[in-house]
C-alpha cells in the first residue's frame, strides 16, 4: 500500500505536522494486553462495585432503579443499531423508523404532537426548552421553582449564561406546591417562560399546573413542564394542562442506572411552526416514497440546526442518545397502555406504603410536605440528632443503600433525605428498611 501511495515509510505521510511540535517519546500508557488479560483486569476492578441487586437501594434523585425487561437489553445490543451512525433513510431506514416510533410514543405520554430527536439528559433538554422559549418570545427571563434539582439548575445556568436570567419561585412550606402568589409577583411582560416539574424533585405531585399555565399565558409567557415519564401512566399529561413545551428524563424507560451514564432527555412541544422552528435538535417526520405502501422518513427543517446554520443557530446538537431512545421505544411498546398505567400505580402504591411504614418511626417525619407523592419522598431526621451520613452508614451495614442526603442542597429543610421506591422493591425490602432505619437512628 505504501508503494501505491508512493512513499517508503508511513512516517512520510505525516509530513504536514511540523517536526517541532511532534511528540516523539513513548507515552506513559499501558503496554498492549490480550483480550483475556484486559477482561480479567477490568472485571477485578469492577468487583469492587456493589450493585443494586447485591444491596437494596433506595436512591433515585434523577436516576431511578426500575426493572429492565430482557427484550430491552436484547434490542439495545443489536449490532446494527449499536454500530450504525448517521446514514440516510435508505441505508438506515430501521433507525429512522425506530426513532420516529420513539417520538410518537413520547407524544402519547405527554399528549403533544411535536417531539424531537432524543438528547443528553433532563438538565440539558430543560435548558433547551428555556432557550426555545426565549427565542420564541424574544424575552430573557425564566421563572423556575426553588425546589428543583440543584444539578439541573446548574446545567440551566450554564446554558443560559449571559443570555437568560433565571429567577426562583418559592414553594408553599406546608405542601411544597409552587407558591402562586410569589409566581404572580414575579411574572411579567419580560417573562419568557414559567418552568415547573411534575412530580417535583422532592417527589410530590404539583397540582397547580393549570393555574401556573394560565398565569404564564396571561403574561404572554410560555409554560414548560418537566416530567418523569412513568408517572404519566396515571398523571394528567402536560399537553392537557397547557404546557407549550415538555421535557423530561427518559432513563426510566428501559435503561439501567449505569452510574448515571444512561440518561436520555426528551423534548416535545405544540406542533406550531414557531415552536418547532426553535427546537435545536433533529426532528424526524414520517413521509411517503415513490412506491405505494412504503414509509419513508426525513428531517424537518434541517437548515435550522447548527449543522447548516453554524453560529446563526445559537444552539448545539449532534450525537446524543439514539440507542437509548430506541430502547425506550421497545420498553414503551412492551408496556402498552395497560402496562404503563399498572406500573405507575404499583410504584405509587409501594412508595406510599414505604412512607406510611416509615412514618411509624417516632423520631422521623415522612414526608416533609403534605401532598400526594409518586415514587420519591422526603424523610426528615432532625429529631434523631444524627447526621445522615452516619445513618446511611449503619443502613449500609444492613445491606441497604439509604436515600440521598439533601441537607446541603436545601439547608432550611433540615436533616433531610430523599428516598425512592419503585416496582422493584418488595414489601419485605421496605419492611427491612423500616427496621434498619429504626436501629440506625437509635
Amino acid at each position: 500500500m505504501l508503494k501505491e501511495i508512493g512513499v517508503t515509510s508511513a512516517e512520510q505521510l505525516f509530513v504536514d505536522i511540523p517536526q517541532t511540535i511532534r511528540h516523539t517519546k513513548r507515552l506513559n500508557l499501558p503496554h498492549p494486553t490480550s483480550e483475556y488479560e484486559t477482561r480479567r483486569h477490568i472485571e477485578k476492578l469492577l468487583s469492587r462495585n456493589a450493585t443494586s441487586t447485591e444491596l437494596i437501594s433506595f436512591l433515585g434523585a434523577g436516576c431511578w432503579p426500575h426493572y429492565v425487561p430482557a427484550v430491552c437489553d436484547e434490542i439495545n445490543s443489536r449490532s446494527e443499531f449499536l454500530t450504525a451512525y448517521a446514514g440516510d433513510p435508505y441505508t438506515d431506514l430501521g433507525r429512522y423508523q425506530a426513532l420516529f416510533e420513539f417520538q410518537s410514543m413520547i407524544g402519547e405520554l405527554v399528549a403533544l404532537d411535536a417531539v424531537s430527536y432524543p438528547w443528553y439528559d433532563w438538565g440539558t433538554v430543560a435548558s433547551d426548552a428555556l432557550r426555545m422559549a426565549s427565542t420564541v418570545t424574544g424575552r430573557h427571563e425564566i421563572l423556575v421553582p426553588r425546589i428543583i434539582s440543584p444539578d439541573t439548575l446548574s446545567v440551566m445556568r450554564n446554558y443560559c449564561d449571559g443570555q437568560i436570567e433565571i429567577t426562583l419561585i418559592k414553594e408553599n412550606r406546608e405542601t411544597g406546591q409552587l407558591d402562586l402568589e410569589d409566581l404572580k409577583d414575579k411574572v411579567s411582560s419580560k417573562t419568557a417562560a414559567v418552568y415547573a416539574e411534575n412530580p417535583s424533585y422532592l417527589g410530590f405531585i404539583e397540582t397547580g399546573c393549570e393555574e401556573i399555565s394560565r398565569i404564564a399565558h396571561d403574561c404572554g409567557a410560555l409554560f414548560i413542564a418537566g416530567v418523569e415519564p412513568l408517572s404519566l401512566g396515571i398523571l394528567t399529561p402536560p399537553g392537557e394542562y397547557g404546557a407549550d413545551i415538555v421535557c423530561g428524563e427518559g432513563q426510566p424507560l428501559g435503561m439501567h442506572t449505569y452510574y448515571g451514564g444512561a440518561l436520555l432527555g426528551f423534548l416535545a412541544c405544540r406542533d406550531e411552526e414557531r415552536l418547532v422552528s426553535a427546537v435545536p435538535h433533529r426532528l424526524i417526520t414520517i413521509t411517503k416514497t415513490e412506491k405505494e405502501g412504503e414509509w419513508g422518513f426525513c428531517y424537518v427543517l434541517p437548515h435550522r440546526t447548527m449543522f447548516a446554520a453554524r453560529d446563526k443557530a445559537r444552539s448545539i446538537t449532534g450525537t446524543a442518545t439514539a440507542l437509548w431512545a430506541i430502547t425506550a421505544a421497545v420498553y414503551m411498546s412492551l408496556l402498552g397502555p395497560s402496562g404503563i398505567q399498572e406500573l405507575a400505580k404499583t410504584i405509587m402504591e409501594k412508595s406510599n406504603y414505604a412512607m406510611k411504614r416509615l412514618s411509624e418511626i417516632e423520631e422521623i417525619k415522612v414526608p416533609l410536605f403534605n401532598a400526594a407523592h409518586f415514587e420519591e419522598f422526603t424523610v426528615n431526621l432532625d429529631s434523631t440528632h444524627k447526621p445522615i451520613r452516619e445513618i446511611n452508614r449503619s443502613l449500609l451495614n444492613s445491606g441497604i443503600i439509604g436515600g440521598k442526603d439533601i441537607s446541603k442542597e436545601f439547608p432550611e429543610l433540615g436533616n433531610t433525605s430523599l428516598f425512592c421506591v419503585t416496582e422493584i422493591h418488595t414489601k419485605s425490602d421496605i419492611d427491612m428498611l423500616a427496621t434498619a432505619l429504626e436501629e440506625a437512628i437509635r
Binding site: 511528540h23 454500530t83 453554524r310 453560529d311 412492551l334 402498552g336 397502555p337
Partner: protein, 525 residues
Amino acid sequence: MTETEDADYHAVRWKEPIIFQLSREGRRGCSLPTAEQEIKTAVGNIESRIPERMRRKSPPKLPELSEPEVVRHYVRLSQQTYGVDSGIHIHGTCTMKYSPKVNEAIARSPKVADIHPLQDSETVQGILAIMYQLQKWLSELSGMAEFSLQPRGGAHAVLSNARIIREYHKLNGELEQRNEIITTVLSHPCNGAAPAMLGFKVVTLYPNEETGYPDIETLKAAVTKHTAGLMMTNPYDTGVFDSNIEEYIKLVHEAGGLVAIDQANVNSTLCRLRIGDVGADLCHFNLHKSFSTPHASTGPGSAPIGAKQELTKFLPVPIANYDGEKYYLDYDRPHTIGKIGEFYGVIPNIVRAYAWIMSMGAEGLLEASEVAVINNNYLIKKLLEVRGVSLPWHRAHPLRLQEGRFSLEKMRNETGIGIEDVNRRIIDYGLQDLETSHEPWIIPEPFTPEPPETSSKEDLDRFAQVLHAISHEAYTTPDIIRTAPHNAAISKIDRTPSSDPKKWAMTWRAYLRKTGGEDNGEASR
C-alpha cells in the same frame, strides 16, 4: 480496475408497518411486579390520593403488542439499519472503526449497569478507579493537566469549553470587552454554534485557496482586544493539518485570549501530537470517534474535556480523584462552572474506552493511527483515478491525515450527476452512503470518506471500484443514478414534509390528525 462492478446487492425489505399499525387491543409484551396484597390493603385506592384534575383520564395510547411481536418488529428494523458491523461504512469525520466485542461484554456487565450514581464511594471503588485512570490517560494523550468526563457528546464538550472561556474572562473582569470567538469555516460547526449560544460574536475565518487553511495574516487581522478565544478543529475534516497552529496559539495568547482545540477526531495524530504541548488551553476528545466506542445510531457518545493547569479550576464537577487509599468524587473546585450535564458522563463509554486503551497500549495506539493514515492515503490514490473526482488542495497537500474531502464538481458539470445522486446510487452496491460535508459547502459536491485502521485493503479496493462503476454510469447511463436507489429497502423519498408544517408529522398521532383519521391502511399488512 473494473468499471462494471455488480450492483446485485439488495437490502432487507420488510415493508415493516409503523408499530401503531401492529397494535391489537388487549395485547401486552411484559409482566411487571405488582404491589403485594398487604400493601394494597394498607394504602387503599392509590389513585384517589391524586387530586382529580391531576388524574389521567385514559391511559397513554401506546401500541399493544405481545413480546414476540415487539421483538420481531425491532429485529426487522435493526436489519434495515446499516452499521459498521454490516459492511463498508467509512462515513467521514466520524471515525467509524470497529469496536471490539469484548468491550461490549465488559461495559454491559451488571457491575457497570446496575450501580447508582449517588451510592457511597466505598461501594463503587471499581468504577471510580476506571474513571480516574481514564482521566489520567487522556491527560497523557493530550498534554493537558486534567480531564472531566462529564460532556456527553462533542458539541457538549465544545459548549463546556466555551463556558470555561467565558468564566475565565469573567474572573479577570474582561468579559465585557472580550466578546468575540474566532473559528475557522472548516472546523466542526459546533465551534461556532456553542460560543454564539453563550452570546459571543463569532468571527469565521476562511482558508487560503492554495494552502487549505487561513493565513497568519488573516488571523492577525481578526485578533483584537475583543478576542476571547480561538475555537477550532485541527486536523480539519479535509484531512489537512493546519501547520500554522502554533503561530495562531501564540498570537491569540499575546492578545489575551484562550485557545480550545477540537480534538474530537484525533485518530491520525494519536501519540504523535499532544495539543497541550503545542500550547492549547483546552481540548476535547470524542470517545466515539478516536477511542472506539460504538456510534450507537447517533449516541450515546462521550466527549471528555481537558484543561491546562491554570484552567482546571473551572472544570465541571465532580472529577474522579484518588487520595492514596480510596477513589472519590471531588467537588472541591471553587471556580467550577458547575454542571454541564446530569451526573458524571456516559459511563458505559468510559468503560469501553478504558478497555480499548488498555488493550491497545501505547504501541497499539500509535500503530492504529498509522494504519488509518496509510488506509486513507491509499484510498485517496485510488479515488483520484476515478473520472470526475478531484481533491481540492491536492497540490499543496497530496498526502492527508485521517481523511480527504473530495469533490464531484467535475462530474456534475459534465454529466449532471452530483453527490446527492451518487449517494442514492452507492447504496445499490451494498455500501453505506457517503458523508458529504458540514455546511457551507465551500467544496462543491463534496464527499468525505474516512477509512479507519479497521478497514481492510479489500474494503478500500471495493469502495474505489464501486465509485469507478458509478462514475462510469454517470458518463454513460445517468438515468440509473437519477432514479436510484433500486436495491434499497425503499425507493426515493418524498421530502416535501420536511418544510411543510401542514404535512410534517413527528408523531403518529400528528400523522393521523393531518391525514384525517385512523390508520389509513397504507403500508399495513
